[in-house]
Every structure is written in structure tokens, then in C-alpha cells.
Amino acid sequence: MAVKKSGKMVNLSGIKGDIRYGDLYKPGGKVRKRREWRGVKDTLYDYSRWLGIMMTLGKFVAKPRNVKAMFRYRWMANYLAVPMMVDRHTQGLRGEYLRMCHTEQDLIIIDVAKLLDNLFRGDRRIGNDKEFSDKVVLVDENEMTAVMMGFPTLKGLSRETPSTYVSVLLNQHAAEHYIDVAQEYGLAGDVCPMPEAEAGVSIDDDAPVLGKCAIQCNTTCDGSLLGNGVISRRLEKEDGIPVFQLPAPLRHREDDVQEYAAEEIRRAIKFIEEQTGEKWDWDYYFECARRVNVATRCRNEWLDMNKTAYPQVFGSNLALYTETNYMAICGKVPEFEKADRRLMKLAEKAYRKQKMAAREYRHRTIVWGVQSHFYMDFLVWLLNCWGIVPLTDMLSMINTEMIAETDTPENREQAYYDMAWLTENMIMRNRTHGGYRVLLDELFEFVEEFDADMIILWEHITCKALDGMHGLFEEKARERGIPLIWVDHQLFDPRVISRQGVRDQINTYMRTVMQEEPLDPTLEILEDDNSW
């Protein structure tokens, strides 16, 4: 097999401070021995950001209702690990890269703290603020929140985001209890553990109860539909919260589905108006649309930078931020526009100086498929352990088009199509659905565009949408002579394949097929099964 090889790039400026990151792990421990030494300037910067995170957490627990919620909801225990999540994603980062990571993560922490605070304020068990609860529209975790872009006085809140999605980012074992609960009640064990865990939270009576109405979306898969069914049954029949099902077309690239998709958006908006008594506000919509375009423009520029020899916003700095900003924020929070601009400044500065985020860049890779959520910092590990640069990932390859942002009669009509387009192109579903072109063919187009010399393909073992194409991916990679590494995982459940199990698949390939030695051998094998 012909193997395309790229020349490695060496960082002549070096990396200040610790470079043996595996030494910071305590074998079998839940937390690390100490934090990273990054040289005086960067350590003091990281320390100052840590103080900022402590302030955010301090403000959160200062409210008695939030403390009450901490003792009511099992998933709240995962929030003890917030500072460690940031440490995991900043591993090895210095200078602009460290600042980019903190710009994103610190903002996400503030945003999630606000979300939790709002959930508990309206929650019938905790704050029980009825007036506030009547202004809440519940949305799925894995749902584009575009239909909320014209309701400035309403709050679109997701219960699943803090209870499962963020929880697993914080603690790899966070969803296990809920997966077990769902399966104890007879739900299939071979569906995606993400919606299964979300259903488990509902079955376990561990979801805050609030809201005037809810919107669910036929997000990504069989598991998602299963989970939504269980959750909506409880919402409608017990909690008295009506649920609208927003079915976005699966073949989203076809022109003939767009009218139907726009009509579903109109119906969803009408449903919200009827339930809440609020009216759609076009001024607010176009203000949000403008911010969506700012985010899209920035992401497009970062992706363009990543096609050069000096990628800047990549790995988890790209992935985690894109997931939050694109889908959950969707132009509604002005602070994210500020963060976009700050990130752009940092990226441009580093690009001008031709900076590198690690000691060596040995391979340029596209990471495809659905990543292991319990190991989101895997992208950081790839870079630090093997010098593999994750240029982009499947979940970051979303909408690149501008939407209408000025208020005209034509644009008001266009807006329904834009919201439908964003909803159809939600993270994950825009690739796992839509046919082989968006999942298979475009991957190899990106490989060319980004000048990648390697593909890392997540095989989420219960994701039927991707597993069916296994052989076709291999065939195409073989035709092009590009190394393709399969990495099996079970998304939310590290009991099936552990973090080390994930790493071993890369380690074995790199040592046997690529005949290479790791950049940092201390990271090759880590006893982190018990770690958060």
C-alpha cells in the first residue's frame, strides 16, 4: 500500500515548562497530582483564569436554590470537576493557544452556570418561580435553537445539556447510572447511549420540571427518537407541558425538501406563540442572524488557516466551542460574538508569527465520525502524544453559508428557509444523515483541501448511521493511499471501551503501521479509568 508521508514540522521556539504530561497523572487516581508548569507568564495567566472560574462557581453556590439543587440532582455532583475539565483541555497549551482555550471554556462555564441557575429558578421542586417558568421553552440538547431567535422575552432552556451532555465532559462516568436505569426499564442497550442516558434522567425522576412548552427535534438517530418519546410522555402526561415535534428532513441537501422544512419551522414558531402568548420579533431575529453570520465567518477563516502549514484554531479549541456556539447559542448571546472576535485576533496573531501549538507536528489529520464524548480531550492527547494535528473534525464541519441578516419583506420569508437550513444542518445530523455524499465523499474532499496525510475515524459502536459505511471508508482510503485509523468507542460509556482502550488503538497503529515513536512517551499508557 502506498502511504503518503508528510514532512514533520519542528517548533523552534520550544515549549516552556512541563513537557512530560503523563507524569502529572496519579495512577488510578481521580484527579492529577498537580497542575502544569507552563513557564512563569503562562502559569500566572492560567492561575488567574482558575481564580476566575472559582469566582463563577462561588457566585453560583452563593444562591441557596442552587445548593438545594446540588443535593437533589445526582448529575450535579459532576460539576465538582469543572476546573479539572479546563485543565484537561489546556494540557500542553501555551501562549495564544492557552488564551484561546480559556476564552472559550471560561465563557462556556459562565453560560452553563446561567443555564443551571435559570433551570433551578423555574424548577417546580427547587425555585418554583411560576412567572419565570411560563417564559421558558424547553429544547433538546442536540437541537438547533434557531426557532428561539425571534423571542427575546422567552428563555429556550435545555435540561439535557447540563444533566448529560456537559456532565460527561466533566466526568467520564457521569452517564453510567442513567444508562443503567434506562436499560433496567427495558430500553434497548444497543442504541446510542446519549439519548438513552437522557431518557434515563427522565425515568429516574432526575430532570428539573419547568417550562410552558417544549420543542423536540428528530435529531440524529433511532436512539434519539426513542429518548424523545420517553421524555415527552412524562412532560405531556404528568407535568402538563405540551411538546412540539420538529421533524427536519433527513435528505437535507435536496432542494425539494426545503419548502417542507421551512413550513415545519413556521409551525414550531406558531406553536410557541400560541403556548406562551409571545409574538415573534423580527428585529431580534435579524440581530441574532447577524451574530450567527459573525460566528460563521470566523469559523470559515479558522478553517482556512487550518488548510495552511500553520493551523491555529483546531482540536478541542475548535470542536467544543463550535458545538456550543453554533447550536445552543445560535446568535442569541452577545458575549459569544465578543469571544469570536477575540479568538480571531489571537489566531491571526499566532498565524502571523507562524506559531505552533506543540513541539512537533508530524501528521495532519481529519477526525471524522462522532467523537467519544467521555474523552473529548483526546484531540489534545493526539497532539501531545504523537504530534498528530487534528485540523478539523466532523462535528465542526457544519454550515458555511451566510443567512439573511437585514430586515426586508423578502428576507422575512427567506428567514424561515435559513432557520430550516440551520436546523437541518445541526451538528452531527448534517453528516450522519443526508446520504453518502455528506458523510463519505466530502470527507475525502476535505482531506485534499486541508492537505491531510491521515484520517482518524471514530467508530461509535452503536451509531448505525456511520457503521454501515465502514467498508466504503476503507475502500476510498485504500484507493488514495491515505492511512485511516479506526477508533472504536461507546460515546457516553467508558465501561465498554475505556479511554486507554481508545488510546491503544492509536498507539498500536502508530507503532506497527507507521513505525513511529511517541513525542511524549509518558502519555502513551495512562491509568485513568477512575479519573473524572
Binding site: K30, V31, R32, K33, R34, R35, W37, T43, Y47, W50, L51, M54, M70, F71, R72, R74, A77, L80, A81, P83, M84, D87, V181, Y185, G186, I203, D204, D205, D206, V230, R233, W532
Partner: protein
Amino acid sequence: MKKAGKALLYLLLCCTGLFVVTFVIYFFNLDMKLTSKIEPLLLKHYDRIERDQHL
């Protein structure tokens, strides 16, 4: 003048002390070491809560 100097000195000492204490907590990961001890206690508490568990 002397009083102001003294106040400034105390303030400086307080800030230095606060910096040293928080930096030691930060660098040796003492915050996470503490919260990792709290988690098992919370999990035991959650197990004791009565829940309306059903499909």
C-alpha cells in the same frame, strides 16, 4: 503619612498572603483533591432520595 504607609504594607502583606495560599491550592490541585473526596458522599446521599422512578 506613617499610618498610610503601614496600611499599604498590611494591604501588600495580605495580598501576598492571599496570592501564596491560592497559588499553592491552584498548583498542587488541592481544590480538585478536596472535591474528589466530597463526590462519594454526595453519591451516597443521592441513593437515599425517594424518587418516582418509572417509564
